[in-house]
């Protein structure tokens, strides 16, 4: 189980391979990468604020839950904060298991919980102003799936 919070950019492919090398015997690896959406002509990216201390605890608790619910060989969460440009990876999740269902379900679960239970706040830097991203009702509803 590895959790990294960082301001610097990261390379999802490199991280996925690094994660894969660490899990001998896995049959399935699922990765999710979240990217800064948007058109470079309309936005200059985003700024992510977080709650140092709580962020680590909240994510570790979510990862712990996933590890208890599914048969995982390992899991990884990387999440950035600070300034991010359009197209850059914001965060990634990786899960490894013997059979594919566990890795898929756990990655999906981790994403739903990270979205609504880890203390991050995104602000979009539009060319004509800044806007805090508002949570979607869908995101809260997604938690009921689990």
């Amino acid at each position: 189980m590895r959790l990294t919070l960082q301001e610097a950019a990261f390379d999802p492919g490199f991280e996925a391979n690094d994660f894969g090398r660490g899990v001998a015997g896995a049959g399935a690896i699922v990765t999710f990468t979240g990217l800064v959406r948007g058109d470079v002509t309309a936005t200059s990216g985003m700024v992510i604020e977080h709650y140092p201390g709580m962020t680590e605890k909240a994510i570790a608790a979510i990862m712990e839950q996933a590890a208890q619910r599914w048969s995982l060989m390992d899991s990884l969460v990387i999440h950035r904060f600070g300034k991010l440009a359009v197209g850059e990876p914001i965060m990634m999740v990786a899960t490894a298991s013997l059979h594919r269902a566990d890795a898929f379900l756990a990655a999906d679960f981790l994403m739903d919980y990270l979205k609504s239970r880890a203390p991050f706040w995104k602000k979009e830097m539009g060319l004509d102003g800044e806007t805090w991203v508002t949570a979607k009702d869908d995101d809260e509803a997604a938690l009921k799936r689990w």
Binding site: Y51, K115, A118, P119, W121, K122, W132, A135
Partner: protein
């Protein structure tokens, strides 16, 4: 004495990221009531509790939770990570 932290637009409205507050409030709601009467910017930040979340000592909690023993209270909008 309790540390009160603000994040995202709550921080922006109140104009600071954290402060230490002298309070006799027994619950989060009591603390908010004390803050709201201080100044307009607090009233503004806490005007719609449905759009706010609270954490006590870095654990998500609720507005009716007791403050006894709590060292750190944080107010913020619903999270938008991932």
């Amino acid at each position: 004495m309790i540390d009160v932290l603000y994040f995202a637009w709550v921080r922006e409205r109140i104009g600071l990221p954290r402060e230490t507050v002298e309070t006799g409030a027994e619950t989060v709601a009591g603390l908010i009531a004390e803050l709201v009467v201080r100044e307009e910017r607090y009233a503004l930040a806490f005007s719609d509790l449905a759009s706010l979340r609270v954490a006590l000592d870095q654990e998500l909690s609720s507005f009716d939770a007791p403050l006894k023993g709590v060292r750190e209270v944080a107010f913020f909008p619903p999270m938008t990570g991932g």
